[in-house]
Subunit: 144 residues, 2 copies
DNA sequence: CTAAGTGCAAAACTTTTGCAGGCGA
DNA sequence: TCGCCTGCAAAAGTTTTGCACTTAG
């Protein structure tokens, strides 16, 4: 797990303590696929290996990790906020409103945005999410 | 206010009853600028002319108006959901994370999106919001 | 050792829901 | 009249906060 070591390194650089809870939270984002997790998702995912962690701690740390730039906040159209690693290459999502699945799409709208449309606004971040039906759900009959 | 009559007409066409509460809610969206209102915003805005309306009714009707296509739901990065009239021309927003102001931007990312990036996904809707500092807040010193 | 971090409990906030009575068509 | 709507009250669900204890550095 050298990917985890890299993230831990970032914590140290920021002067943030490396606690087992934080390691567990960060670990839950690692793996072959890029993950978009809510606080609850993480709490459940960790529960197996770290049953004593409290949901409060997950919330507090997600906020902190977002603030120091390790995580990015996502609005996937649900009530809950989701997070993903900022170290993943930049992308957006195709979100199925039926099954909730979120595929990544490697197209960024800022690329085609004329500066004069933005004028004096100083862009810091952006969100772009596409909602609809994934192939699987379209086949299943659409509206259901 | 013939704009209001038009919206009321839509309610009738959908077989939805036209109540004073609904008229008040719809009215709050009218005016020279396009408005992005939360349930609470509307409740307050209406309070002057319609002090007895309950917040529950506002919530219920916003959901209903969204479902029948009169309103569109917006995620402006806040905890609260906002709504705007779908009859306004299509646009996105430049949202100031400091003062909360949302300017409209007439650029849509779907325009430049290759179909093959989307593949078999059936697009139904999308969200695109840019976050940063508006001119005013940039001048005030940025971070504060 | 000590400031930062954690868990617990309780609160805050937005949104939803059950129910009884009210009102538009 | 009849069924949709509304208001009230209470609940649900997510996120935040105060406080005392614990722990990483």
């Amino acid at each position: 797990m050298q990917e985890l070591q890299l993230l831990i390194q970032q914590l140290k650089e920021k002067g943030v303590k490396v606690t087992p809870q934080r390691q567990a939270i960060l670990s839950s984002f690692l793996g072959p696929e890029n993950k978009h997790l809510s606080a609850e998702d993480i709490h459940l995912a960790i529960a197996k290996t770290y049953p004593t962690i409290s949901l409060d701690t997950v919330y507090r740390n997600l906020g902190m990790l977002r603030d120091i730039g390790i995580l990015r906040e996502l609005n996937l159209g649900e009530r809950r906020v989701h997070y993903e690693l900022t170290s993943n290459i930049h992308h957006h999502h195709l979100i199925c409103t039926q099954c909730g699945d979120a595929q990544e799409i490697h197209y960024c709208p800022l690329k085609f945005l004329d500066q004069d449309k933005v004028n004096k606004f100083k862009i810091l971040s952006h969100s772009f999410e596409i909602f609809g039906l994934c192939e699987k759900c379209t086949k299943k009959g659409g509206l259901l």
